[in-house]
């Protein structure tokens, strides 16, 4: 199995089938097109989104619905096409994984980006950061202590 150097877990083996392609890159990281998801029992509910090209780039993520159980995803038509999904809105947990990147604000608060979740079509191994233009979800949604519920991603 191929190996990659990671930010948090030193060198890891990964399966080529597990490589997630991000054709558009991520805003701010436009040249990053390949990631692997690291889901370790001991670190749940966190999911790590590790760049294959840049060992020092790894996003810490939480399933959007573990932060906001009623989270409603609306994927714009160009993003649906990119995800190789038909025109129907994907269902979280069935069609796609929906992960919110976690950041610590300058004030030290832990927040999740519900404005632009990473939406992953796991069957096709393709993902896009789907900006929720017509919602009021925040790019710095506060993650309340102890409130990340275990749910399907």
């Amino acid at each position: 199995m191929p190996q990659c150097l990671t930010k948090y877990f030193s060198t890891m083996e990964y399966s080529e089938d597990g490589v997630i392609s991000v054709p558009d890159g991520l805003p701010g990281f436009d040249d990053e097109h390949e990631f692997v998801l690291i889901d370790q029992e001991a670190k749940r509910p966190l999911v790590f989104v590790q760049s294959l090209a840049t060992p020092g780039l790894c996003f810490i993520a939480l399933p959007a619905r573990s932060v906001e159980p009623e989270y409603k995803l609306a994927v714009a038509p160009p993003d649906l096409a990119l995800l190789e999904l038909d025109s129907a809105q994907p269902e979280i947990g069935r069609d796609v994984l929906c992960l919110a990147f976690v950041a610590i604000t300058p004030e030290g608060e832990i927040s999740a980006n519900l404005l632009s979740p990473l939406v992953i079509n796991y069957q096709k191994r393709v993902a896009v950061q789907a900006i929720q233009t017509n919602s009021n979800y925040s790019h710095r949604h506060p993650v309340l202590a102890g409130e990340a519920e275990p749910v399907c991603s």
């Binding site: 701010g28 749940r44 509910p45 990147f101 993650v143």
Partner: protein
């Protein structure tokens, strides 16, 4: 903040060489045309916020991982 009322087809000019035209105005959304020199960057705000937030998220380190885990409650049963 400067507030200006404009109708469809009207525009505002910002500085010497930026013009924003109201192309269409609906009840919930407007379509803008922006004329600006190439060196003036124009973004949808949510894209810029996403970019900033991605950079902030990428700054995390091992200590951040422990803090976040403690915060969300490591004792939770694992997600299916």
């Amino acid at each position: 903040m400067l507030v200006v009322r404009r109708r469809q087809g009207e525009s505002v000019v910002i500085g010497d060489d930026v013009e924003v035209v109201i192309l269409e105005a609906g009840p919930n959304r407007v379509k803008l045309g922006i004329m600006a020199p190439r060196d003036v960057l124009v973004f949808r705000k949510e894209l810029e916020l996403t970019s900033q937030q991605n950079r902030a998220a990428a700054h995390a380190d091992t200590e951040s991982v422990s803090r976040i885990l403690r915060h969300v409650g490591r004792a939770l049963p694992s997600a299916p």
